[in-house]
């Protein structure tokens, strides 16, 4: 089980990712140009200080444990929370952490699949943002292997 300290640390990482993407609920805007601009985890950490997203069992991230090729990594992000307005998919170690997000309406489930590029093994996150501007996340590690003949 995770210690409280680790939980806090993880929350801080996600808060950093979110702050860097400009996607913290209070910053949400019509078009999220800044959201896709964060270059590194360090960059996004600079913007820490916003309300920390919480790890939640009501958010699920799905994907392979090992990806044979980082060019295509199939991920699913979903949440069983009742009031989700947005679902995000993040790759911590990518040049820009945010890969994609989906705006949820009453007519679709908060359940999406998308395929992303990963430059290296990394944690991947699903983040659900609720109508009352809280953020919840789940994460898992995806290992990217070197495939083929290496040439």
């Amino acid at each position: 089980m995770q210690t409280r300290r680790e939980t806090l640390k993880q929350s801080a990482v996600v808060a950093g990712l979110l702050a860097g993407t400009g996607l913290m609920p209070q910053q949400a805007a019509a078009y999220e140009t800044a959201a896709f601009a964060a270059k590194t985890a360090a960059d996004v950490a600079k913007a820490m200080g916003a309300a920390a997203p919480m790890e939640s069992k009501d958010v699920t991230i799905g994907g392979p444990d090992i990806a044979e090729n980082g060019a295509v990594v199939p991920l699913t992000a979903s949440s069983s929370l009742p009031n989700v307005k947005r679902v995000l998919v993040l790759v911590e170690k990518n040049p820009a952490a945010l890969a994609a997000f989906f705006n949820v309406t009453a007519d679709v489930e908060a359940n999406f699949a998308v395929r992303v590029k990963m430059g290296q093994s990394s944690d991947v996150y699903a983040v659900a943002i609720t109508n009352d501007n809280k953020a919840f996340y789940a994460k898992k590690e995806v290992k990217v292997t070197l495939g083929g003949c290496g040439g």
Partner: protein, 103 residues
């Protein structure tokens, strides 16, 4: 002009699972060509889905979405024969809209 999408929309009970394949380079902007120059980013940035003309989902993507993107989502209450329309727009202003019938 862009190649058409492949949209499959399948109803099961009161839920319709929509699977979409899009034809797009999704150039990351990180890759260098053979002469060592950075290839500019070129990617689908906005996606929209409509059910019988009503917008049910919008999305924004970055260049980390894989080439020839695949996405899946679930529409509540769509029934056989309904129309699902998907549109995308990329960062260079190209766009594409295709429609499928729920089966």
């Amino acid at each position: 002009m862009s190649d058409p999408m492949r949209i499959r929309a399948q109803a099961a009970g009161n839920k319709t699972t929509v699977r979409v394949l899009m034809s797009h380079e999704m150039e990351s902007g990180q890759r260098k060509d053979s002469s060592g120059k950075l290839v500019p980013a070129h990617f689908i940035s906005e996606v929209k889905a409509e059910h019988n003309g009503k917008v049910v989902m919008t999305a924004e993507w970055g260049p980390a979405v894989s080439k020839n993107p695949f996405m899946q989502f679930v529409v509540k209450g769509a029934a056989k024969g309904d129309k699902i329309k998907v549109s995308w727009k990329d960062n260079k202003g190209d766009s594409r809209t295709d429609e499928a019938t729920v089966s």
